[in-house]
């Protein structure tokens, strides 16, 4: 078979995928970038405004606040998911009665649709009839019912709670799979050399799971940074913008205030930050592919 014919076949087989991907993603991206330099609305005429939208975006204190909130959400929820995920992964790797059942259970939060998870926690946190209020007062831990999602001080943390409850399971499953690839002899040898549990964790366990764990970390960062669904259902960005993240901000700019031009500029800034994380992920994936 000639190299030329190979190349032709390779591209021919790729053609359907290329057509779909370029048709539905290339144009919108290019158009978003173009829109970001104009003062366009959702329809009608528009004119070129250069970098004005970006200047406005970067100097807008509301947007800076949204950005800070997004970083808070991303930092706290992903840290918790990684720590809990590692702990639960380690736990599920131990031997105990009913282990297969508990491992299967870990799939439940992951499989639960994001919107159902958000709705479930919204009901649990309901200020008048929510079960969290009922549980805490019946246990004597809370004097009177609280509005968990109505209080700007606690709303974001409650959204983080709901996000962590669902997404740490993914980290745990990845960690568990990685743990099972670590040879048991390593532990035996370390024990004979007198290494304590702590040393064994840092010297054997952690290096053994670091590759998959870092992939999970970056994946979670990418996902958390674009958080939208869970906030839309739980708080709609409220109270007092207390949970308004960048994705929510861009969504409102474009579809509530109908400012397509500046909405696009905000979208480009969000995509750029994500782009950095995505590049990290791709590099990791390539490195693991070679290993």
């Amino acid at each position: 078979m000639s190299a030329r014919r190979d190349r032709f076949q390779a591209w021919l087989l790729l053609a359907p995928m290329l057509a779909i991907m370029l048709g539905v993603t290339a144009y919108p991206i290019a158009r978003t970038v173009w829109l970001s330099f104009t003062d366009a609305g959702l329809s009608g005429d528009s004119s070129w405004v250069g970098l004005a939208n970006y200047g406005d975006a970067l100097s807008n204190p509301d947007y800076q606040d949204a950005f800070a909130r997004t970083l808070y959400f991303t930092g706290i929820s992903v840290s918790l998911e990684i720590v809990l995920g590692v702990l639960v992964g380690l736990l599920l790797n131990e031997r105990f009665p009913g282990r297969a059942f508990v491992r299967a259970l870990m799939v439940l939060p992951w499989a639960l649709p994001t919107i159902v998870n958000a709705m479930m926690w919204r009901l649990i946190l309901n200020p008048q009839y929510g079960s969290l209020n009922a549980l805490l007062t019946q246990l004597g831990l809370l004097a009177k019912y609280r509005s968990w999602l109505g209080d700007p001080a606690s709303a974001m943390n409650m959204v983080i709670l709901a996000d962590v409850w669902k997404n740490y399971s993914l980290v745990a499953l990845i960690v568990l799979a990685a743990l099972q690839t670590i040879p048991q002899d390593l532990y035996e040898a370390a024990r004979l050399d007198g290494a304590g549990a702590w040393t064994r964790f840092w010297r054997i366990t952690l290096p053994g799971i670091l590759g998959p764990l870092s992939v999970a970390l970056v994946l979670r960062l990418i996902e958390a940074f674009k958080v939208f669904d869970i906030i839309y259902v739980m708080t709609r960005g409220g109270p007092a913008d207390g949970t308004k993240t960048v994705s929510f901000y861009v969504y409102e700019e474009s579809f509530t205030y109908l400012r397509a031009g500046s909405g696009a500029a905000y979208a480009v800034t969000v995509a750029c930050v994500s782009g950095l994380l995505i590049a990290t992920y791709i590099l990791q994936l390539r490195r693991q592919g070679r290993a």
Partner: protein
């Protein structure tokens, strides 16, 4: 293995118990809400278990009583099924040849990495121009628009999953088939695909899960029963003034059942799919 001390065993036992309770309690409560009469749910102090289970919400949602909740639930269920299955079918039809090409012909992997990257860009970067295009084509509030967008979400990731599995199929078998005059497509269909059947099933199930879960595009491109999918319907139910929490919970339980059942079948291939970005966060 070294024998563990009693103290360590007790610690493990406590940790496992906490894990099981924390995982199951919210889900059980969702189910209990769905079978508790409204008076039971609004009683203070809360009684937790209903005196008598009340399955009337499920009857309403399945249209047995002919009210509005049933109509919109069934329409959303139909739209979700149509969109997820169509997008999955198209994504696999385009993804199988693409994955084969990436697996057998060297030198184009950068493209696949690029598409994986595109799939991870926040949807806010695409949503507006596509909205304008769909509006001009008259495709807003039409399942066709969602199917087109979902294909681009499902394709990179299922291609990646399939490519990794095609890599494990020996080339010699295919070449033998081609020698017998099967042609390239024939060899793929009769040799490669049957050998990679488990991976194919996993890719399809993952794709279904991703499509079933999608919310952002569905929220913006649909607005009524004609195209609204289940996640959007749930958001509407949850935000509505309707104070029947049991009804909302019942919708949630029903929407969660298909992915939960699929996930149990997926357990074995779950982790490789997860690290390839088969996440829904």
């Amino acid at each position: 293995m070294m024998r563990r001390s009693l103290g360590f065993n007790i610690m493990i036992g406590v940790a496992v118990t906490v894990l099981v309770v924390v995982t199951l309690a919210p889900l059980l409560w969702l189910f209990i809400m769905s079978i508790s009469a409204p008076v039971e749910l609004t009683r203070i102090p809360l009684h937790w278990l209903p005196d008598r289970p009340d399955f009337s919400r499920y009857a309403r949602l399945f249209g047995l009583t002919g009210d509005a909740a049933g109509t919109s639930f069934l329409a959303a269920l139909r739209n979700s099924l149509v969109v997820s299955f169509s997008a999955t079918a198209i994504a696999l039809a385009a993804g199988i040849p693409a994955a084969y090409s990436f697996s057998r012909f060297r030198g184009r992997m950068g493209l696949l990495y690029g598409f994986l990257g595109v799939y991870m860009v926040p949807p806010v970067a695409f949503v507006l121009p596509l909205y304008m295009v769909f509006s001009q084509l008259g495709l807003l509030n039409n399942v066709v628009a969602l199917i087109a967008v979902y294909c681009t979400i499902l394709l990179p990731f299922s291609t990646w999953l399939l490519k990794n599995n095609f890599d494990a199929v020996p080339r010699e078998i295919e070449e033998a088939a081609q020698m017998d005059g099967a042609g390239l497509l024939g060899a793929i269909r009769h040799v490669t695909l049957p050998l990679a059947r488990p991976a194919l099933a996993a890719a399809a199930l993952f794709a279904l899960l991703l499509a079933w879960d999608e919310f952002f595009y569905a929220l913006i491109y649909t607005n009524d029963l004609r195209a609204q999918t289940l996640p959007v319907a749930i958001a509407d139910f949850a935000a509505g003034r309707a104070t029947d929490y049991g009804l909302i919970s019942a919708v949630g339980v029903l929407a969660a059942l298909p992915p939960v059942i699929i996930a149990f079948f997926l357990q074995r291939s779950l982790v490789s799919g997860l690290s390839a970005g088969g996440i829904k966060g």
